[in-house]
């Protein structure tokens, strides 16, 4: 539709403006020092934004529910477990913390394995296990969360302080070398993700209609869950847990762009998340002068929007 195209262009312009503003505004000291750092952060925010947007929209489609985030599968909790275990067992000066590749790899692999084992187990026993999957995800997430709290109580307070920096999403100290790996994963995932967009459109009609229209539903369900898990794991291992953002941008995209097409919806959500992240980071750095973090702002705004969504849905039910 013409209107959707105009709106996408508007979002793209906003995204470009926020990127340019963040890249060039008020560069003090050495341009050669500050500029590459800013570019790295912008790239990290783009990777995160696209990964989370795709994962969340696809997750909404397969669950037929728009107020879930993929983190309900317990992946954020798994990330916290890995980081806490590393600090608990090896300590903040160990190679698992100091070496960026190792830390990133450990977190990424643990999250993806966690998801794969969960899916394997569930898909073997049941044909359409999505609700069971959500339920078990929530329970495991809570269990792992408790484990994390327990370990954190035992940890040395100084270690705990440095562990904290891993448990909150931050774009301030993204390492360029990890960023390259994350970009590579994102590109591969997005190529596959782009190819299955048509099938996602059909799957939005529900399992039975999708099967009637020739989708191999149960296999696609598994593939999309794995894809979403890889995307979430990549972004979480890169900057920390920030999946709440996905809920925000996905729903804004549904409201703003009246269409069923996943290509449009996901593009819209990605642009929105780039605007939110880059714009938010700009505000954090220049307005709050780093006295708060981006995830605090996003969770605050996201939380308000989430309550609005719940109120709206409950009104729609009446």
């Amino acid at each position: 539709m013409q209107r959707n195209r105009k709106r996408l262009i508007f979002l793209a312009v906003l995204a470009i403006i926020s990127v340019l503003l963040y890249a060039f505004y008020d560069i003090k000291g050495g341009f050669d020092y500050a500029f590459p750092k800013r570019v790295t952060r912008i790239a990290a925010m783009m990777v995160t934004g696209i990964a989370i947007s795709y994962a969340t929209v696809a997750f909404h489609t397969i669950t037929q529910n728009r107020i879930l985030t993929p983190s309900i599968m317990g992946m954020d909790a798994m990330y916290e477990v890995v980081q806490t275990l590393i600090f608990f067992l090896a300590g903040s000066t160990s190679i698992w913390v100091v070496n960026n590749y190792l830390n990133f790899g450990a977190a990424l692999i643990a999250m993806v394995l966690f998801a794969l084992i969960l899916y394997r187990f569930l898909f073997r026993t049941k044909k359409y296990p999505i609700y069971l999957l959500l339920l078990i995800g929530i329970i495991l997430g809570t269990l792992l969360g408790n484990l994390v709290t327990f370990l954190q109580v035992l940890i040395d307070p100084v270690e705990y302080m440095s562990l904290q920096t891993f448990l909150f999403a931050s774009f301030m100290d993204v390492k360029a070398e990890i960023l390259y790996i994350a970009i590579a994963i994102l590109v591969v995932a997005c190529i596959y993700g782009y190819r299955i967009m048509g099938q996602l459109n059909v799957m939005a009609l529900g399992r039975e209609n999708a099967i009637s229209l020739g989708i191999n539903y149960d296999r696609m369900l598994m593939n999309i869950l794995i894809l979403a898990s890889v995307l979430i794991a990549t972004s979480t291992a890169l900057v920390g847990p920030i999946t709440f953002l996905g809920l925000l941008v996905a729903n804004l995209s549904y409201q703003y762009l009246v269409t069923y097409k996943h290509s449009t919806l996901i593009l819209g959500a990605s642009l929105l998340s780039i605007i939110a992240l880059v714009g938010g980071q700009f505000i954090v750095e220049h307005l709050f002068e780093l006295r708060t973090t981006l995830s605090v702002i996003i969770n605050f705004i996201g939380g308000i929007y989430f309550i609005y969504l719940l109120l709206k849905e409950s009104r729609a039910v009446k």
């Binding site: 939005a204 099967i211 229209l213 191999n216 069923y260």
Partner: protein
Amino acid sequence: MIEIKELTKRFGKKNVVDNVSINIKPGTITSFIGPNGAGKSTLLSMVSRFLDSDTGEVLLDQSNVKKWKSNAFAKRVSILKQSNFLNVRLTVRELISFGRYPYSKGRLTAEDETFVDQAIGYMNLHDMEDQLIDELSGGQKQRAFIAMVIAQDTEYILLDEPLASLDMKHSVQIMKTLRKLVNELGKTVVIVLHDINFASVYSDRIVALKDGELVKNGPTNDIINPQTLSEIYEMDIPVQEQNGCRICVYFNAHAN
């Protein structure tokens, strides 16, 4: 041809469908009837590949439906289930266009558009083709979904209680459309019906189920008679003939 061979489905210890064998005769409307819990929808779900059977098999052209490639199967058989909850901003025309997905994967050709137009015509949806699905009434939505199935242009059309949320006018319209699809285009329709009078008036053959078992399978007139009906429904159902149609007057069955 669709052949159902010794099909059984268990939920827990109960056989919801119990050793049922039926051949679906091509070029006919076959209705599945029977009391609640007879296993009609479960049987249809196994034919449609929504559910796996525990034992037995369903064959389409001599090969097991489980072995068919999803897309090839979708060009031969289309299925519409009872409830269709949608969470998507979709116009009526866009929904119907999905019927062409097995052929064009979302990129509609001129030929696809013709099929979509035809389906819209069959279901009389011209005046609402640009409306969003979630703004329609239950009955209008149901007709849009049936149009999608028609656009899919499959040899076999399986429908699970398509009249559930429709008024009399639209129920009759849909049954007439199905009759037209069979008579003019040579389609084969299998339909789960609750209203035995629609089954009696519009179908060529009837499959009667009860407690998961096949009670009777044959031409409509062999089933729509008081003896057979009382066997199926465990009540006296007087049958009256009207303009050559057999009508079951079951509303006051135990009055006399």
